[in-house]
């Protein structure tokens, strides 16, 4: 095994054990690796954003457009690319929020962001939820192509209709829930939501276990042979 790869695996194993040591109790070993992970995440984010986005899509076109830098062999940047400075400077206005005197300038760019976010959310809402609303209108009696009743599909659609109306009635606060029909429907809605939360919780347990399995697989199959070679040679370690 390559020396660097081995060092990487050993460090990865130590970091994994450090993070799981929290299960025993809060300790400095865990705390150190937690901060290390957060710091590395932020550091990688900054470097990659500058390298993959800021430089090729922002700074380089401005420099090439202004004639301060030679573009690549297949690239061409006209003088108009210098105009990229305008949105770039607008972005910098965000930092004016730290100055009492110039804070008002940050509001300009925040206003732009809010407007843009609102517009995108509006479009996003319709393209995401309209198809769901349309698909929730289902026939309660479904016939097969041959003419017979499709019992299973019909049952599914009845369950969907019942659940949808009951859960929605639970969230209607504009009229009295003491009306017997509404009371029963909203109570059923609450129960149905509890069933749904149970499914969510079961899925959560499965997801957490899957993450733990991957780490255990790494510790047993990769880390143990690299960090404890005598164990692997003696037949342990599984990998």
């Amino acid at each position: 095994m390559d020396g660097w790869l081995r060092a990487e695996i050993i460090a990865g194993g130590i970091a994994t054990i450090a993070i799981y040591s929290f299960l025993w109790k809060e300790n400095p070993f865990y705390r150190f690796f937690e901060h290390l992970f957060i710091g590395m995440g932020v550091g990688i984010g900054i470097v990659v954003t500058v390298r993959n986005f800021m430089w090729p899509k922002g700074i380089k076109p401005i420099l090439c457009g202004a004639g301060l830098m030679e573009p690549g062999p297949r690239e061409s940047y006209g003088a108009a690319y210098v105009l990229y400075l305008i949105p770039l400077m607008m972005g910098f206005l965000y930092y004016a929020i730290y100055s009492k005197r110039y804070r008002w300038m940050a509001r300009i760019v925040i206003g732009f962001s809010l407007g843009m976010g609102g517009g995108l959310a509006f479009k996003g809402f319709f393209s995401e939820y309209l198809p769901q609303i349309i698909k929730s209108f289902k026939p309660l009696v479904v016939w097969q192509a041959g003419g017979g009743l499709d019992w299973m599909e019909s049952f599914n659609n009845v369950v969907l209709f019942f659940t949808l109306t009951c859960v929605m009635s639970y969230f209607f606060f504009s009229f009295d829930h003491e009306l017997p029909v509404i009371k029963q429907a909203s109570a059923s809605g609450r129960w149905l939501m509890m069933v749904s939360f149970g499914a969510f919780f079961g899925a959560t347990v499965m997801a957490r276990m899957a993450l733990l399995v991957e780490r255990l697989q790494f510790l047993i199959e990769d880390w143990a042979p690299a960090a404890l070679p005598w164990l692997a040679h003696s037949g342990g370690g599984g990998g």
């Binding site: 025993w24 984010g45 993959n52 986005f53 393209s127 198809p131 997801a207 276990m209």
Partner: protein
């Protein structure tokens, strides 16, 4: 307080660390002894396989794979993405990997490379090879989420939009990107994530009035109930459910592409089966603990009702 605790039924006083230990042993056992059960049949994985089988390939077509996941959810998202990549490579459908999540960067580079290396090794001597640029392109990490996805969908010249791949090579020089100009040249999108809101961004903005790619989605187990809403409303064509979905998809891949003598069986298929067996054993242990935990709460009450006094 301490006195009240002392009077509690002994099951309620069990240190939580014993539960952690039991779960860890249950998970580690099958991994150490390489105990594998065949994965259970999963309808959605079958549907995913069938949809991926029908994806249109050929010159000027590129499937986009959004790998919006990182180390935190690699346990589930990595095998899912790997299976789709493997499938597309087998079918000779060209694809590009991209991500809106910064910590995905190393996986964008290594995952397709490792699958290609594995296939090249399996098919050594048959004349079949897989290589970067011809079969896939790494479009890298692209920040901006909604803005990036919307820009990508609306772009009339993807070469100008991307400019370079993740290695800094001009997009126009990459073979599989040569005739790919707009979203209309992308027949499908494979989106894999464990992040809240990621699939929604792609669903909302990665389309045009005249072209809507086939959406394939791989989610972590935690978001399966939510993902089913999109499957039921036909906003996504196929869904891979957590690591279990990936394991069964892997089995379907093996049946179709490996057992027919097209190549040697990949060793990784058994690793997924071992992991799934581990999960199953751990689930039994958790169900057992839930049962005895409830028993621990109910038993003192039952004894009191029966007139047995306090339990200890």
């Amino acid at each position: 307080m301490g006195e009240a605790r002392e009077k509690e039924f002994w099951l309620l006083r069990v240190d939580r660390r014993w539960v952690y230990l039991a779960v860890a042993i249950a998970l580690a056992g099958p991994l150490i002894f390489r105990w594998a059960m065949p994965p259970a049949k999963i309808g959605t994985a079958e549907q995913f396989f069938e949809v991926a089988e029908k994806i249109e390939g050929g010159d000027g077509k590129l499937v986009l794979i959004a790998m919006d996941w990182g180390p935190g959810t690699q346990a589930e998202n990595k095998p899912q993405t790997e299976m789709l990549i493997r499938h597309l490579m087998h079918r000779r459908v060209k694809f590009g990997v991209i991500s809106c999540y910064v910590l995905a960067e190393p996986f964008l580079l290594n995952l397709p490379k490792n699958v290609a290396a594995d296939l090249n090794e399996q098919y050594e001597g048959t004349g079949k090879t897989w290589e970067y640029g011809r079969d896939w392109v790494n479009l890298g990490y692209r920040p901006g989420w909604t803005i990036m996805v919307q820009g990508l969908a609306k772009s009339e010249d993807l070469h100008d939009y991307f400019k370079t791949d993740a290695n800094g090579t001009d997009i126009g020089e990459i073979e599989c990107m040569k005739n790919v100009k707009t979203i209309k040249d992308m027949p499908a999108l494979g989106e894999f994530t464990g992040l809240v809101g990621a699939v929604q961004v792609w669903l909302q903005f990665f389309n045009r009035q005249e072209h809507r790619p086939t959406y394939l989605h791989g989610c972590t187990s935690i978001s399966i109930p939510e993902a089913f809403i999109y499957l039921d409303s036909e906003q996504i064509a196929a869904l891979q459910e957590g690591v279990a979905g990936a394991a069964y998809y892997g089995q379907l891949m093996t049946e179709k592409y490996v057992e027919k003598g097209l190549g040697k069986e990949p060793e990784k298929a058994s690793s997924a089966a071992v992991a799934m067996t581990s999960l199953s054993v751990a689930h039994f242990v958790i169900i057992f603990f839930i049962a005895i935990g409830n028993f621990g709460v109910l038993w003192p009450r039952i004894r009191r009702r029966l007139g047995g006094g306090t339990a200890s």
